[in-house]
Symmetry: C2
Subunit: 405 residues, 2 copies
């Protein structure tokens, strides 16, 4: 069996944790399995390097930032190889040049294009554990690139796909995927299985265990993913195409506090106004999420939408620049104290009453809904940030997620 | 003009020094010259990484040590590129894979075999300063190697040779090559020129500004070397084949305190005894320097020799292991409080009285000579460590080295 394991930065933050990971890899190896391990940079190393860069140049060239950051994972894999050696397990570390791992050319946010498997297979055949730098690649200019947020997860899934691995294990500091954040909903329960699509909706909604790009890639290539803890040996959650256990109506409740609402009041009510507004934002790469349009006072309309909280100032600045021309309006309001609460579940596709049931749960505990957005397997509502906890618990209870299905 | 500049770890130890180097490179660039810069790892970074490795594995695999250490120079070149960018100077950093810089396969002490110049030339033609990681290479397995002590100097000289550079400048924390160590001999004078051979003898005698390997390579390929300070703009010392200024009798006085004398007393006086003794040491890679053999008490002989101080314990242990068999002797004595004092100069070849003049100088100040060793352009004496300062000053004065020739 060929197993790809991915450990994040906190799992390799110090000597003790490095040996903890090394022992887990050794156990897998001693079962006779082929083991490929993807590692992130140690602890806060990436942040330390970035701070060093900004001290020298507040706006450092992206190519050189990637050249700098890729040293982080290289240190991790080299030290892990030394730890395995001291346990008597043969291992070899490889960086993006050595695999090689080819990406698109854009620095800081490259996409994996092609992974050569020859060297990795040769090392596995020599019965070595192969340790590979996550998050990094090499572009057509033979320059280092990095994969952006969630990059090491993507490296692991891409390697699992390229090597036709039997399983890709993503180790994290939680036991798996839960029906809700256990810190907010005490009755939250770990799921044993979940579909790729549900996982995608959960990730984009702020559940934050796996990055969307890695789940999308896993879905595309049918990579069997497991999310599990690096701190214990509990089974974790299996992410795959179809779940075999009885399909529940909904799978989980997620929240995302990194959101803010912008209301543009009193826009002219004529064709093209909405297009122009959102086009200005798109040109500056500002992602707009839920959109609500309503009729305003005579001859005008109001448009509300949500953006990530750290982009709200820029979004408002952009709109203000165009208020005299293409975005004529009476006022622009911002509400930062909002949060998204969502329910996700493949089961709701064939069950039209789900949204209503969610709204009922919220009404029962007096939570006011500010905006609504739905997809085939998801219902999202925007609520006041202060009522998130109440909202999540109410919805979680309503759908009896704490009870094993 | 194409200029290769090499800066060591202390020259890039912090933000201020990085900018100091960046500004010097910018000045060269603004003259219209092509500039290639070789950098070492920042400050004590290499030692920090080695300590981290040993904490995990007291005897780490050499391949992985090189994988670890090469991150140090990569950080230096990336940060330097950012510094130059902030000064408005286009620059690009390259590691050993990107050049590529091919070496022999032995980790920790590889030798450069082949440097591709295509990418460097392309970057220079685009009017970029090219920043290259010193000390590192890639072997035939596509693994990182490091070049051992003085590695970054060697990288710089090899690049200068491969690129047919007009000059290779080695920046250090002293103003150039001196007639003696200015900390010991107050009247020591900076040399404006010196030959490769003199430099080789000075380096091996503990003057320690340039490593022998880099000087040997410079001599082999006729690379014009300049040793100068990174702290000021003084001219430095030019190292080349023939010096054009009037040839002095001797060029400099050097001392080396990292030495110890081992005396093997009462060896059997028959053929092969010396061979066996030194063969044991050679097998363990222990370098023996000055050797003195004298007739001992009836039917025996004594052999004394010097080794580096940090190898003396191992050397004695090796000899003791063989005392019952091939190295039968009465006793083995060690004297750690000795030092070598040497005079070097191409001018002494045609001047037989030089050694005698040195001995006279030492006798004048009451310094006892324990051993003597000579080559065509060098005389070395072993003296008591406590008399080094007196010995060097006496010799320096005798040959009037403080007076400009």
């Amino acid at each position: 069996m060929l197993v790809v394991k991915k450990f994040g930065g906190t799992s390799v933050a110090d000597k003790e944790r490095i040996f903890n990971v090394a022992r887990r890899c050794m156990e897998e190896y001693k079962k006779g399995n082929d083991v490929v391990v993807v590692l992130s940079a140690m602890g806060k190393q990436t942040d330390v390097l970035l701070a060093q860069a900004r001290e020298i140049n507040p706006n450092p060239p992206k190519r050189e930032v990637d050249m700098l950051l890729t040293t982080g994972e290289q240190i991790s894999v080299a030290l892990m190889a030394m730890a395995l050696d001291s346990l008597g397990v043969p291992a070899v570390s490889l960086n993006a040049f050595q695999v090689p791992m080819r990406t698109t050319s854009n620095y800081g946010n490259a996409r994996l294009k092609d992974i050569s498997t020859e060297r990795i297979r040769n090392e596995l055949e020599s019965r070595r554990i192969v340790l590979i730098t996550g998050f990094q690649g090499v572009n057509k200019f033979d320059d280092y690139t990095t994969l952006g947020r969630g990059g090491s997860d993507t490296t692991a899934v891409a390697l699992a796909a390229a090597l036709h691995a039997d399983i890709c294990e993503i180790y994290t500091d939680v036991d798996g995927i839960f029906t809700a954040d256990p810190r907010i909903v005490k009755t939250a329960r770990k799921l044993s299985e979940i579909t790729y699509d549900e996982m995608l909706d959960l990730a984009s909604l702020g559940a934050g265990v796996l990055h969307n790009r890695s789940v999308e890639m896993a879905k595309k290539y049918g990579v069997k993913l497991v999310v599990r803890s690096s701190l214990n040996t509990k089974e974790g959650t299996l992410v795959k195409e179809d779940v075999t256990v009885e399909q529940m109506l909904i799978t989980g409740v997620a929240c995302d506090k990194n959101t803010a609402r912008i209301a543009v009041i009193g826009l002219e009510d004529r064709p093209g106004v909405a297009f122009k507004l959102f086009n200005h934002l798109a040109r500056h790469n500002i992602n707009v999420d839920i959109i609500l349009q309503s009729v305003g006072r005579e001859g005008t309309k109001d448009i509300s939408f949500t953006v990530a909280e750290d982009e709200v100032d820029e979004a408002v600045a952009i709109l203000n620049r165009h208020r005299a021309t293409s975005v004529k309006c009476e006022e622009i309001n911002v509400d930062r104290h909002v949060a998204k609460v969502s329910i996700v579940g493949a089961g709701m596709m064939s069950n039209p009453g789900v949204a209503a049931k969610m709204f009922e749960a919220l009404a029962d505990v007096g939570v006011n809904i500010k905006m609504i957005s739905t997809s085939e397997i998801r219902v999202t509502v925007l609520v006041d940030e202060s009522s998130v906890e109440r909202a999540m618990n109410a919805v979680h209870d309503k759908f009896a997620l704490g009870v094993t299905g």
